[in-house]
Symmetry: C2
Subunit: 219 residues, 2 copies
């Protein structure tokens, strides 16, 4: 029963033992790092396992396959997106809360470009996953809530909100801006790294859009 033969193993500080302790969390963390460094196309399951200090087959026991891990990362992304929307919204005065929501959306996208890309790429994630669907829905619901408050309207219950052109217009505008900005195709900044420039530009774009609708009356 000598030393463990090969494999000095990294297992970071805690250096548990054969059993990692919290491999699932470590893999998610590694996956986010890989996405950040190498983008969506550069993601590999084996690299995640390497960074977590486990064998290439270990992730399967926690996430099934590569798509399972990516789905988890995407769900986490939607939760952060929702938080970012809420935070930015609550920083704005009463008449600008819808714009604030959009700015929070864009800020998240620019801060986590690869994750944002993953979240909206069908085929890489398990679209049927319940956790993902709930988190994704929540991010959209912030728009609906904020829109309803801003315009003082109440949609009847049911799916009608999703088919209201005004709400979907807001979402499409914000999502389009975020998507293009992440790819460096938006406005003054060729690179998404110039976040502040892009955020200022986003405000200018969203401000003009709001200037029509029913009410920007502080209520």
């Amino acid at each position: 029963m000598e030393q463990r033969r090969k494999k000095p193993a990294r297992r970071s500080a805690r250096e548990k033992t054969y059993h990692h302790g919290d491999l699932a969390a470590a893999l998610v963390e590694a996956a986010e790092a890989v996405l950040t460094e190498r983008g969506v196309e550069g993601f590999t399951l084996r690299e995640c396992a390497r960074r977590a200090g486990v064998s290439h087959a270990a992730p399967a026991h926690h996430f099934g396959d590569a798509r399972g891990l990516l789905t988890e990362v995407a769900a986490l992304g939607f939760e952060r997106l929702t938080a970012s929307e809420r935070e930015a919204r609550d920083e704005e005065p009463a008449g600008k809360r819808l714009i604030g929501t959009g700015l929070g959306y864009v800020r998240f996208a620019l801060s986590h470009p690869a994750q944002f890309q993953l979240m909206f790429q069908k085929g890489l994630v398990d679209h049927a996953n319940e956790r993902l669907a709930t988190a994704s829905r929540a991010a959209f619901d912030v728009f609906i809530e904020t829109y309803m408050q801003a315009n003082d309207v109440a949609f009847p219950e049911g799916m009608f909100k999703d088919t209201d052109p005004s709400v979907m217009r807001e979402w499409a505008l914000v999502h389009g801006f975020a998507t293009l900005a992440v790819q460096g195709q938006m406005g003054p900044a060729a690179s998404p790294s110039e976040i502040q420039n892009l955020m200022n530009f986003a405000r200018a774009v969203f401000d003009g859009a709001q200037s029509h609708g029913s009410s920007q009356n502080p209520r």
Copy 2:
């Protein structure tokens, strides 16, 4: 010098010989088919070669690597996108030409979902490729042209057009709608296959957006 040993070879009808004749075009065609059938994630170079009836290493002589072929397909996509914008624009009455441009944009995206996704996915294509850059720019320029005509404004020369919030708002709105619709996250149709429903909804969304700006005066 008997029959060619193995490989019955398909080479479609023309059944040239050792030299394909127009392998580059055949590979592009195959790539589009693969993208349509299997999506961006299901794309492989070897499958394209198989469909073109050549060996797995043949594509390299025409496109370098996989990215080279995808770049070509993306450039073709932008050219079609531009044509679709122009066509739909010219079907609209004078006051609705900007909306028409957007509808052409959405129609292309829904008709070629995988190609559309490819076109706007950095990392899969060679962003420095000149042909691609030109084709991409042309698709955006249709928006600028149409916007300028609709509002009867003339931007000074230079990059200023790209930083005008009103123009970029139009593009972001349309691009966001197209992106979300392709992924089945837009409005009344869960599936992008219900093109007509989505096109009607797109018109409703874009119509509302136009109702503020400076002029929808037919000129």
